[in-house]
Amino acid sequence: MFVQQVIQGLAIGSVYGLMALGYALMWQAWAVLDFARGEAAMIGAFSILVFHSFFKIPFVAAFPLAIATSAILGYVIQWLAYRPLIGGIPINRLIATLGMGILLRNLARVIYGADPYPFPTVFGDKPVSIGNVLVVPQNVWITAIGFALVVLLRLFLTRTYTGKAMRAAAQDRETAALMGIRVKQSMALTFVLATCLGAIAGLLVAPVYFVRADMGLSIGLRGFASAVLGGLDSVTGAMIGGLLLGVTENLAAGYISSGYQAAIAFSIMILILIFRPQGIMGRRL
Amino acid sequence: MALLETQGLSISFGGVHAVQGVDLQVEKGEIFTIIGPNGAGKTTFFNLVTGYYKANSGRVIFKGDDITHLAPYHRTKKGIGRSFQVLMLFRDMTVLDNAMVGLHCRLKSNLAGALLRTSATVREEAEGREKVRQLLHFVGLDGKEHEMAKNLSYGQQKRLDIARALATDPEILLLDEPAAGLNTQDLASLTDMIQRIRDRGITVLLIEHKMDLVMSISDRIMVLNFGKKIAEGTPDEVRQNEAVIEAYLGKEE
């Protein structure tokens, strides 16, 4: 029971972690708490739904197509609503993201309706028993993909020129501009990257939670909580925050009450924040 | 008894001794100046006296009371006012309101008084405004009451910063480089203003780089270098001090 709950928690937690990475990237590059972040997951899930379920494109081909679609949409979104507010009052940027979230969520509802779409499992949802523990292959895949992406992202940010430029632009816009980094382009790229991560999170959970117009709300909220838990300035922290939230939620559901799942998770989050305001992996404020 | 006294005041950041064992006694009614090269720990010392930093060791004593552990706002209430090196005005509030905020700890009206708009509150507000107008006049900001603080010139902002600190009705006023960035004309009126502040019975503790200003108005001077006191005395004594000349004056002039 315990091990199963933990495994399930790690799987959903790595999805939260991917979302949290998006928040952390956005926080660093745009200095905004992006309330439309969850919509990236929704975009990703609907993209794969359209390509795989509607157009019957095989999953391996539909996957990159969905990511590409999300990336393009991400670029358009940041160009429309985020870029005009660079340098403005922070709260205005935040409200723009709120507005964008409402817009995207309801646009999806206009196009696809409010009902959830089932999505076929790709990785297998039949439990396999390993020893005396039942493991759902899907969960293992989700966790593995989540971890792999974190490692890749770290490598990208620390080893490649583009990644380094993105970090430099995030840390000090003016100096980065003086060094010849194209700051706005770099910010746009960060946005696209965050959107892709969100989209992957969305299409990973699609088989588990169905695809629906307002799916971004709950997954976005949890990703946000994970990011804050882990510390908004740390890639590793975001993932750890996600895993922690996922496992806590599942244990709370299993041992206390499934109704209070989120309440318990958030209570723990608030307590951690009060005692460690900069998050688990964050730098001291 | 000294008005303000520090005993062995020390703080370090990540192994660097920013302020180290500083003993200081400021007497009532004097203009006391702290000088020293950049990074000598002057502003850090101010932040220790005003409570923004917590000292690793040593004590701060004000009017005979140990205030080492009091919060900044509490020290203001006790009578320690300060201005800031980097301007920290309430930019989107009017000049009058900026100064009225300074009056905060001298007024009494609370939430209930504000909501019920009791006669005591109304009277207190009117008296407060009158007092603040006089202070704005004192620093030469007449007629600017309804300007936004951010729309003032730099020199005017500096003066508002001082008016705001004066409104807290301090017994000692800590001025952190008030002359920095001022033009010659503003500088002259600042010199005059500091003396007039002292004439009001307020003790002045000053951090300043402009040597002619320091030498002309200070009663006593303390010299800090690398967080340590290297000299203390009248302007003449300090001017002739070997250690000071070596550490500071010699290099600069």
């Binding site: 309801n106 206009v110 909580a225 958030f266 | 900044p72 009056l103 407060g128």
Partner: protein, 329 residues
Amino acid sequence: MKNLYRKYRTVALLLLAYAVPVLTRDPYVLHLANMACIFAILTLSLNILTGFTGQFSVGHAAFYGIGAYTSSLLAVKAGAPVWLGFLAAPVVAAVFGILLGLPTLRLRGFYLGVVTLGFGEIMYQVFVNWISLTNGPKGLTGVPAPRIGSIVLDTYGSYYFLSITLLVLTIVVAYRLLYSRVGRALLAIRENETAAEAMGINSTYYKVMAFCVSAALAGMAGALYAHEIMFVSPESFVNAESVSILSMMVVGGIGSIPGSVVGAITLTLVPEYLRSFGDLRLVVYGLAIVLMVIYSPQGIGGWITRVDQYLSGTAIRKPVRGGVERGAA
């Protein structure tokens, strides 16, 4: 003309506001008028916290819900008089406000935001899951209408007089608070907390106070809501509702009192009248918010201030930020 305007603008607005039930008998419109008042109170309460004090909250619907459940439960389960509920709702909400304000000792800005978000989520789950008390997702029915003497306020029209009176009261509270020693302390904290401390302001105390006052007003709005539709269910207090309140504040203009009122009215009415557009109206709603912050960041409050200054011929009354102005009170 200008003197006339200055002298009578408040009276004229009040007359107009109180005349709504005379101008229309349509219960649907009157219900909307009530909702507009309720959201205006909520937006003002959020503005005290965010616009005046600079403390960010994205869980405001929680206080609204606490108020609604407090007064409903008192009336339905304990059989207490309705007015007692109206008194208890802000008090209970204020207690929660103080509790939520305490983390401000250690947390700032967005980190505080996440705590308020979590709080909103937690309260929602409590409303849903504490079935023995709240009746869960099915909601509490039979919330009674208040009565004044022998007059029962059980029509939307009669209830409106209560709604508008509480709104006027809230506006007065907001203005009096803003232009007082306490209000200046709140603004100072928003502007620069370090400098505020140097002025002798105990910033923790005032931040907690802002939470307390803000929560109390939101709690009052909750009671007003519960007795208006005579039913409460958790769905009225989801996080999306907090986002609506936040949007109203921004569209109205952060820090602007008239803006809050107009923002709340606009965003309550417009989506209703766009109902025939279905979900598309919410797309428009989202788009409007985005366009508003990009092209008119001072919000409606900024326009109001400008028009007011023009009509009254005063140029001295400068906006504090986002159009806090010295008019109308």
